[in-house]
């Protein structure tokens, strides 16, 4: 809890509760129409008018509109001046040079117009693609990102501590989630830190005294120097990213590993994930867990030596009949088939290592 006020005897105040009340107040005001419709968008659009195109963030419509506004090259340069006689000179120069500048400007304007048209066309195609994906909706994306972190399993903690105990650099855990793995590694004397893009989860871990920061794993690894991390544990993140993005994260992790460093990819198994996740999150998640065999193949192609694939606990089981019970042979054989078809390990961890 974030409490203040203890120092002066005024009593503790739970700032988190205040923030929740502020959020509720904002939601109530929006619902009641107390904020003029479009005010915030209007403010954004007004500032965008005075901003360079590249500063207007991810709003591609505004960026393209800004590019369109500047696509035409004007050769009628201003001629005003406070100095007497200068405007006349400037006008004469402008007139004399117009034939030359206009020839160049027409070509530049034509290129600019074509480029902006191409940008707009691509933007429309991209928008159409985004509309085909639930992950494109910020509201639905927030629903997925708002999910609570998955608890760290005891077998992953045990495996990670054993694998990382001799790491020669810092150990990164992503996503850190509830911080349990970072805590266990630190407790075992491993120099570990975590990142998690979910602010609430990361702040909770930070409040517990753990070295956990709010960050996206791809962004973070992009800033890590080559060959400095003793080990990297990828958990959860590899379940929610599309396959290409998950593999790109693994590639960045491999680059950041020191010689001899280990990469652990811990994931729910695809079947268990589909059964265990709530249906809304399953429908809206941009990615799905990959099979352990896919990771073995991918990590091998990234130059790592795959040491082991540890299977997690079996989710559920069917009880076999005692041998000798009438019909036990057939029932137990069917159970075996059903086990393979319906159940299996809920998770797996692939352990791979960079050559020394």
């Amino acid at each position: 809890m974030t409490d203040v006020g203890r120092a002066d005897g005024l009593g503790a105040l739970d700032l988190r509760r205040v923030l929740v009340e502020i959020d509720e107040e904002v939601a109530r005001r929006r619902a009641a129409g107390e904020i003029p419709p479009g005010l915030e968008h209007e403010l954004d659009a007004t500032f965008a008018r005075f901003s360079p195109a590249a500063s207007t963030g991810s709003d591609s419509t505004s960026i393209i509109a800004a590019a369109e506004r500047t696509a035409f090259v004007d050769v009628d340069v201003p001629t005003a001046s406070a100095m007497p006689g200068v405007p006349v000179v400037k006008k004469a120069l402008r007139k004399g040079m117009a034939w030359y500048l206009r020839y160049l400007a027409q070509q530049t304007s034509a290129f600019n117009a074509a480029a902006v048209r191409a940008l707009r066309s691509n933007d429309e195609r991209l928008t159409a693609l985004e509309h085909a994906s639930p992950a494109a909706s910020p509201h639905l994306r927030a629903a997925v990102e708002g999910r609570s972190p998955t608890p760290t399993s005891a077998d992953l903690v045990e495996l990670a501590v054993a694998t990382c105990s001799d790491a020669t650099g810092r150990v990164l855990v992503a996503d850190a989630g509830d911080g349990a793995l970072v805590r266990a590694l630190a407790g075992a004397g491993v120099d570990a830190y975590g990142i998690d893009p979910r602010r609430t989860a990361a702040n909770r871990a930070l409040a517990d005294g753990l070295d956990v920061r709010v960050a996206d794993v791809a962004d973070h690894l992009g800033g890590v120097a080559d060959g400095v991390l003793g080990a990297v544990v990828l958990r959860e993140v590899v379940e929610r990213l599309p396959a290409a993005a998950a593999l790109a994260v693994a590639e960045a992790a491999v680059r950041a590993l020191a010689p001899g460093g280990a990469l652990l990819v811990a994931s729910a198994s695809p079947a268990a994930w589909a059964r265990g996740i709530d249906p809304v999150a399953a429908d809206l998640s941009p990615g799905r867990p990959l099979a352990s065999a896919t990771w073995v193949e991918a990590l091998g192609r990234l130059g790592l030596e795959v040491e082991a694939v540890h299977q997690g606990p079996v989710e559920a089981d069917l009880e076999d009949l005692e041998p000798g019970t009438p019909g036990a042979g057939a029932v137990n054989a069917n159970n075996a088939l059903l086990r393979d078809a319906l159940f299996g390990p809920v998770s797996y961890t692939v352990v791979a290592r960079r050559a020394r």
């Binding site: 002066d8 009593g11 904002v26 500032f47 500063s55 800033g223």
Partner: protein
């Protein structure tokens, strides 16, 4: 005698890094070390306190000499340092990510990109990276620094007590008597400080809560283009009378602005530490801030830290602080308490411990 000399890209008279460097020198000399300051360039007011970095003599054989680099921007000093034979330390104060500046001031963006390159290239040569926040330490680790630690910035918070400019305070109080609350933000006018988002929040606050409110934006410009855009934005949304883009002000005027402020609002997208938050705590001004970069760490509960900075959220948070007497009093009390963590004595002791361990 062992020596720890400091290298500073640019040494200013009043900036936080300049005064930090002088305090570090005081601590080092207090430990019986020889300690000089060498700078890339220096403001004329303080030029006598430093020497050009090119004049640093080669170490004598057998002499234990360290060079401590105050890192906050790109500089030829960093490349020069790499070629030196002495053992090296770095004191990292954060480098603004280039993408904030690139659209507005491409040349500044290029300088910041260069600064990040230098930060990475120095990593293998630096024996200890000293960061002034855990956030900055994370960046050092990410850049490949093997051994890091955190020492708070050495600031004499007593210097926050400037003599108030009473003419300015009278003028501000006359404004206040006409009604309306006063928002304050202090910091360079720069894209990553997001003064444009502050103005959006303020415009929303005026519309929803307090049509007579005023916003004071204090600080010199780091980008002419950004400053101009802010001026035009303020005019376009009809806030010319309510928003004061004051630029740099004298210490007396700054003290008057703090004394007059009802709330300090920071919606920066990037802060490596944010000293003005400490000034606000010192002056008993409650703080509402967007929780970006090192801001949550600097505040540590001594301010209302928002997860998002949509204008309505910021406006609602400010309204809550200004209308909830208990919350406001507790934030102010928490600010005074938090300020103690950054006392000069506390930070000096921490630096002493770090240096003593290093030399042991």
């Amino acid at each position: 005698m062992a020596s720890i000399h400091q290298l500073v890209p640019s040494f200013g008279a009043r900036d936080a890094i300049g005064s930090h460097t002088l305090q570090v020198q005081r601590v080092l000399r207090g430990l019986g070390l020889d300690s000089q300051i060498y700078a890339g360039d220096a403001h004329r007011e303080v030029r006598r306190a430093v020497q050009p970095y090119q004049e640093l003599a080669a170490p004598r054989p057998g002499e234990q000499t360290w060079l401590l680099y105050q890192c906050s921007t790109g500089s030829p000093v960093a490349d020069w340092l790499l070629a030196r034979p002495e053992r090296k330390l770095s004191n990292y104060h954060n480098i603004t990510p280039a993408p904030f500046f690139e659209p507005w001031e491409p040349h500044v963006g290029a300088e910041l990109t260069e600064a990040r390159r230098q930060l990475g290239e120095l990593a293998p040569a630096i024996e200890l990276g000293i960061a002034d926040s855990a956030f900055n330490e994370t960046e050092l680790v990410a850049a490949g620094y093997r051994r890091t630690t955190v020492v708070p910035i050495l600031l004499d918070t007593d210097t926050f007590d400037h003599d108030v400019d009473h003419a300015e305070l009278d003028r501000l109080r006359a404004q206040k008597e006409r009604g309306g609350s006063d928002w304050l933000f202090v910091g360079r006018v720069a894209p990553h400080k997001a003064q444009h988002d502050l103005i959006k929040s303020f415009a929303t606050y005026r519309r929803v809560h307090d049509p007579l409110a005023r916003l004071h934006i204090i600080g010199g410009s780091s980008s002419h283009a950004y400053w101009t855009a802010l001026e035009r934005f303020v005019a376009a949304v009809g806030l010319g009378e309510a928003v004061d883009l004051a630029g740099s002000v004298t210490p007396g005027v700054l003290a008057a602005r703090y004394r007059n402020a009802d709330v300090f609002v920071c919606v920066s997208d990037h802060e490596g530490f944010c000293v003005p938050l400490l000034e606000a705590m010192h002056h008993g001004v409650p703080i509402v801030a967007f929780g970006a970069a090192a801001v949550p760490e600097t505040l540590a509960g001594a301010g209302l830290v928002l997860d998002d900075k949509s204008p309505l959220t910021v406006a609602t948070a400010v309204d809550r602080v200004l209308t909830d007497d208990v919350l406001r009093a507790q934030l102010v009390a928490a600010g005074h308490h938090r300020l103690g963590d950054f006392s000069l004595a506390h930070a000096s002791a921490r630096l002493t411990d770090v240096v003593s361990e290093l030399l042991a």
